[in-house]
Symmetry: C2
């Protein structure tokens, strides 16, 4: 098989607290059938990558808490394809482990790293883009990130400013930016030079290990100690001992914003990070009153622009609510203006202080 050196790492350990209470600590959003299609976001991510890499080259990295959910949702995977993190340590340690793990299996490997909880609507475009990305990183010592062509002046994403083109759709990265305010986002949007930072990466195992060695030597030192265990039964014990000591840092901050060989592939395949209720609202079909209903029955009177996310077979009747999130998860109900969704993390904190873990 031509693509036998290609691997996929699906990062699947997040807790999705911005979608609380629909996304819960015990079953975060990547495990939820968000669109009522019969497949969870994780399953959709897996389905999407299968035409591109051999099934046995798909690696799921998740928190050990979610091992049963992963096995239930992807029963076709072998246990050695599921890497269980004993602690939450952001994306850099996760990716470093996966890279060392794959390197032990196939030092010539290239890999895509992708979140498990994004929406991608145009799968054919996705396949073409990922094929091109693999081709590029297999012929260049490059760290490639996917940049999404913006469709609006979004303030909820980081942006990548592009520099000189390297090949069709692949350009040198000039800068990574923080989330902009609306004024700046409009400038970015209109310039044509800025793309959304998707958090999807491609590189050869050799390139990422070299970059980690240069820019995250602590991580390299930690994983180098276990170099003989990767791909063996001793790997789990090594990780359980050493992984919790890893620094909590993102791959963007640890490597991508520092390395010199960083490129962006500019793509346009109907992407949304589903990072917030508003993101989901914006990307969902709306009825005549601009209400979005998520797996539920709604009778709405004088109510517009609401996001209804209610589990199960529930009926919701509302009067006089505009631009709210109404999220019901059985034992928790949240009613809050869409504009206040950035406070949901604070509510979750208050819930934890007041009630412990019961409702998280």
């Amino acid at each position: 098989m031509e693509n036998k050196h290609r691997f996929c790492v699906i990062m699947c350990g997040g807790i999705g607290s911005r979608f609380w209470p629909y996304s819960r600590s015990a079953k975060p959003k990547q495990f939820i059938d968000f669109f009522g299609t019969g497949r969870s976001l994780l399953q959709m991510s897996y389905d999407r990558i299968l035409p591109l890499v051999p099934k046995e080259n798909v690696i799921i990295v998740t928190n050990e808490q979610y091992a049963p959910l992963v096995k239930e949702q992807l029963p076709e995977l072998n246990d050695n394809q599921i890497l269980l993190e004993p602690a939450r340590r952001n994306t850099a340690p996760c990716i470093a482990w996966a890279a060392y793990h794959i390197n032990a299996i196939d030092p010539q490997a290239s890999m895509i790293v992708t979140p498990s909880d994004h929406l991608i609507t145009r799968e054919r475009e996705f396949e073409k883009a990922i094929e091109a990305g693999f081709d590029f990183v297999e012929s260049h010592d490059a760290l490639l990130t996917l940049g999404i062509k913006p469709s609006r002046p979004e303030t909820g994403y980081g942006y990548i400013q592009v520099g000189n083109p390297e090949s069709e759709n692949i350009l040198k990265v000039k800068t990574f930016t923080e989330k902009p305010d609306l004024q700046l986002a409009k400038v970015f949007f209109e310039s044509g030079e800025f793309f959304w930072n998707s958090g999807i990466f491609l590189w050869s195992v050799e390139s990422i290990l070299n970059a980690l060695h240069s820019y995250a030597p602590d991580l390299t030192n930690t994983f180098a100690k276990g170099i003989d265990t990767f791909g063996t039964p001793a790997e789990r014990e090594f990780i359980d001992r050493e992984f919790p000591g890893c620094v909590n840092i993102s791959i963007d901050y640890a490597v991508m914003e520092r390395a010199a060989n960083v490129y962006v592939e500019c793509v346009n395949f109907g992407w949304n990070d589903l990072g917030t209720w508003s993101a989901l609202y914006d990307n969902s079909p709306k009825n005549a009153e601009a209400n979005v209903t998520q797996n539920c029955r709604v009778l709405a009177y004088e109510s517009k622009g609401n996001m209804f996310a209610v589990s199960g077979d529930k009926l919701v009747v509302v009067k006089g609510l505009n631009d709210y999130i109404i999220a019901d998860a059985g034992d928790v109900l949240l009613v809050c203006p869409k504009a206040d969704e950035q406070h949901i993390k604070q509510y979750v904190n208050d819930v934890k202080i007041t009630y412990g873990d019961k409702f998280l």
Copy 2:
């Protein structure tokens, strides 16, 4: 026992649709432990009357649909104390049947007729008032209704205007009024001449049967056909055959507004008909933000004056909601301004049209 001729009829067949979805067709509000005390409104009504009439003289009239609920909640009653209506026909047919039934047991009986879903907070005052009422109707050919001393210019109740006093706290009724608008309600409230119409009645069986004969001859004709069956095993069959043919009419309209011997006992025992969410809100303890929580846990941010009625162990988190009803009944969630509660019946109708009986 001195009070052996005294009977109590508790009317318990309503469906409480103004409290939907907390009150459901399958379990209306009289069967709900509304205040989290461990006793339903029906049980509270029963407890309240027990010091006043012998236990075996308590008669429950309900729809046959609710027989299991009544037996579950009042297991000390015998089956012959539970009259099961085969159809819903308002209060006049219900009271007529109960009067004929009691007449067959004890023609010298006096009786109190009371709804099962009201709140009465001052039970000692209630007992004194009912004792006095029984004494009056046992010595006068009188139809006695209880008038509640108003505590505010309420527009949700009918009023009774009093005439000449007959004895302490008992006066001739001058007029019954419809629910007034606010301006008129203020006039009523300030006059001291108007009392709330409670829907609690006392009379001798003889007086009510005479009044029915004069003012509701159709009902009398119907029940007279079964005169030999009351108190016998044949009663049920007679009722199942004849009751559905009774006119659907209230006792107020059929008798109280027409008869000449109608009196009102003016009382003040902490009464609320719990007819609406607002009534419940007004009569419930409130927290510092004027929110009322009903059997649930609430975290409220910038939210005041709300009525939370959520079944079970649920957590509710709200932001930026003022003066709303938030009622969750497992499979139904209602969010609606308190000021719009008169529309709840319309919502229930729309639900029925859209989904059938599933959510009623």
